[in-house]
């Protein structure tokens, strides 16, 4: 088993854990954290393929990872802002109870 | 003669290689690392002990009193006494506290503080890890301190400690931005993130004057902004709001006693040394001698001389300035420090592209002084400072 496959397996595992968390957890913040994990798993893939890929000098994998880290941070900030606004409005972060669009 | 100087300068490096030489070649690199780690831990822990005494004696002398002079000659065994006291004191953990996180917080804080020394070049080729992205490593490790502060504040299940932790984190984050921007100026000029190459850029001399970055207008402004942000980053003197005894008892380390409490102090002081060490590396030419005729003194002595000078300035400022209020602290960060550092980056750009000579100096100096005065007037004009009227006093 070459090391590239091991890295890909680890990132697939992290991705599925993040997905499981996002799908099953009750609290909105945990869903956001699950999404963060999925994004990170993708980053790991980029770096693994850059490292073991055909043309490391092109740095495309590293560039992709850097931009994806930046965007994931922005997404986390806005997502948590929304969770806060929803909490202020409906006093709960439980996803099951956020089922009414009443203003 | 020259070889004697060279030997004195490289004495520790040679010592390290000789000791590591006893091991088989495979383990030598690990042995090198371990030896330098031991050296760093010993030297900076000793410096921590010395600084606690210097601080208390300095503050005493500023306030017209002696400062500790009972334990040992002129009080220099006081850290031993403090150490024994903090070791023998009972280590209370509140019942409601979250045991694991409560224990991990000081450990993480001290680890983060010591990690920051890996990239500081203490002397000529005396650096633990010559990372290509050294400065970035320093700031990455610096953020671990905020996490440790939060863990300490939250895990003690105490309103005051949580309040103190939140204040400390808010302060650290809002002063991390100017800190990073102030160091970007030097990275632009040096063209590399590696601390070793930044110092090598500053070791040249023209005439007797060194090529330190602090001697350029943007370097001087950057150095001041960096030191202000560093004081705030390590929760010291005018910015020590999170542990303001008068307001919230002792901030995030209320529920700590005994050795863990001492670890927090160790972490805070190490943080102070680390940021001032980075300031020395970036602006004051790391281990470079201040004048060309002084280069015969070994390089590591210059680093620690500058470090002691910075510590003295920290103590001096601590003895002078009153504590800032939370809103003043935040306004200062976002309305003065951030714009000034951005202008400083612009000034460094102008400096880089303008031809040399006096005009360049004038342009950059004006480019920095005018916004500084305007911003400071902006900060002050918000306040109404007319005479206070007392209803009952007079």
């Amino acid at each position: 088993m070459s090391s590239l496959t091991s890295y890909l397996l680890v990132s697939a595992l992290i991705f599925s854990i993040g997905l499981a968390g996002a799908l099953t957890r009750r609290s909105a913040i945990l869903v956001l954290i699950g999404i963060e994990l999925m994004l990170n798993a993708a980053n790991l893939n980029f770096i693994a393929f850059w490292r073991y890929g055909p043309n490391p000098q092109a740095l495309t994998g590293v560039m992709f990872a850097i931009f994806s880290i930046g965007i994931a941070a922005a997404e986390a900030a806005v997502g948590l802002g929304i969770v806060l606004a929803v909490y202020r409005h409906s006093k709960t972060t439980e996803l099951d109870q956020m089922n009414s669009m009443k203003g | 003669m020259h070889s004697a100087i060279q030997q004195a300068d490289q004495i520790f490096v040679a010592l390290q290689h000789r000791v590591a030489g006893y091991l088989p070649v495979k383990f030598q690199s690990i042995a090198d690392v371990i030896l330098s780690v031991i050296a760093i831990v010993l030297v900076f822990a000793f410096l921590f002990a010395v600084t606690t005494v210097l601080e208390r004696k300095g503050l005493g002398r500023i306030q017209n009193r002696y400062g500790p002079n009972r334990v040992g000659p002129a009080g220099f065994f006081q850290p031993l006494a403090d150490g024994v006291k903090s070791l023998t004191k009972e280590d209370l953990v509140p019942r409601a506290a979250d045991q694991a996180v409560h224990f991990m917080a000081p450990v993480l804080l001290v680890i983060a503080a010591f990690l920051a020394y890996a990239v500081l070049p203490v002397g000529r080729n005396m650096v633990l890890a010559d990372l290509n992205a050294g400065v970035l490593f320093f700031f990455a490790v610096g953020t671990l301190v905020e996490l440790a502060v939060f863990m300490a504040g939250w895990s003690s299940r105490n309103k005051y400690s949580l309040l103190g932790a939140m204040r400390a984190i808010a302060q650290m984050i809002s002063y991390e931005v100017p800190l990073v921007l102030a160091s970007i100026v030097v990275i632009m000029a040096a063209g590399s993130l590696s601390t070793v190459s930044i110092v090598n850029m500053q070791t040249g001399y023209s005439g007797i004057w060194p090529h330190w970055f602090v001697l350029t207008p943007w370097g001087f402004a950057g150095f001041n902004l960096f030191m202000i942000a560093a004081t705030a980053e390590s929760n010291r003197s005018p910015f020590d709001l999170p542990e303001g005894e008068s307001e919230i008892i002792a901030g995030y380390y209320i529920e700590y006693s005994g050795f863990k409490f001492a670890l927090f102090f160790l972490g805070e002081y190490l943080g102070m040394f680390a940021t001032s060490g980075l300031a020395i590396t970036l602006f004051l030419g790391g281990w470079a001698a201040p004048f060309s005729f002084l280069t015969w003194i070994p390089s590591y002595l210059w680093f620690f001389a500058k470090l002691l000078l910075m510590i003295a300035i920290f103590i001096w400022i601590r003895g002078t300035l009153p504590r800032l209020r939370m809103d003043q602290l935040m306004n200062f960060a976002w309305q003065f420090m951030l714009p000034m550092t951005l202008i400083n980056v612009f000034a460094a750009g102008v400096w880089h592209f303008m031809p040399g000579g006096v005009i360049r100096w004038l342009v950059c100096a004006v480019l920095l002084i005018v916004p500084a005065v305007l911003l400071s007037r902006g900060l002050k004009q918000g306040k109404k400072f007319e005479a206070r009227t007392y209803r009952f006093a007079e």
Binding site: - | G58, R61, I62, Q63, N64, R65, Y66, W316, I317, G319, T320, L321, A372, V373, S376, R377, L379, K380
Partner: protein, 203 residues
């Protein structure tokens, strides 16, 4: 200018810091066990019993009249009267306390006992290094521990001691004069009856 106040502050602390090395009089601390502040005369700590002459048993001014015990707000004085008499400071035979205890841990050094004492027998001491290893019996002072000489009183409260001594001397003179007058009137009236008054011991 923005940093003006800061620079002035820094200059002030620097002047203080360097000044403390130049002239020692800037430093106000007194190294306590080695150096001591001059004693303030009006300072008072816990009471003590004054005695005249060398032998504290005989010279004790206290005549155990129990006034201070009654007046003491926290009730920390305990006196037991003797059965026989001894001459007091003025020479008149009076009772004297066999037991005179003050519980120093209770005493609040309010000086009421000194004010009410008609015989100037109890005064306030200025000794403050009183730590003991036992907080019960160690702080219950008996008569022997309380008795201190008049010279000690003069040393700690000179002016006050002088006034008290003057009054005592005047009283002794009055008593002596009365005794002398009685002695002369006695041989004129009835030389046969033996003089009831024992000889006054002259001080």
């Amino acid at each position: 200018m923005f940093g003006e106040g800061i620079l002035k502050g820094l200059a002030e602390t620097a002047r203080n810091f360097l000044g403390s090395y130049v002239s020692k009089k800037r430093l106000t601390t007194v190294q306590y066990p080695e150096e001591r502040l001059p004693q303030i005369e009006a300072y008072r700590n816990f009471p003590f019993l004054v005695y005249d002459g060398e032998d504290w048993q005989q010279g004790l001014r206290c005549v155990s009249c129990f006034i201070c015990e009654k007046e003491c707000p926290p009730k920390c004085i305990f006196i037991e009267k003797s059965t026989d008499k001894k001459p007091d400071a003025v020479g008149k035979p009076q009772f004297y306390p066999t037991v005179f205890n003050i519980d120093v841990s209770v005493c609040m050094s309010c000086q009421i006992c000194v004010e009410v004492c008609p015989f100037d027998a109890i005064k306030m001491d200025t000794d403050f290094e009183l730590s003991t290893d036992n907080r019960f019996s160690g702080l219950l002072w008996d008569k022997k521990h309380l008795a201190k000489s008049n010279e000690h009183y003069h040393k700690i409260h000179p002016t006050e001691a002088a006034v008290v001594d003057a009054q005592l001397a005047a009283e002794r003179a009055k008593v002596a004069a009365k005794a002398k007058a009685a002695a002369e009137a006695k041989p004129a009236a009835a030389p046969a009856t033996p003089p009831p008054v024992p000889a006054a011991t002259e001080k």
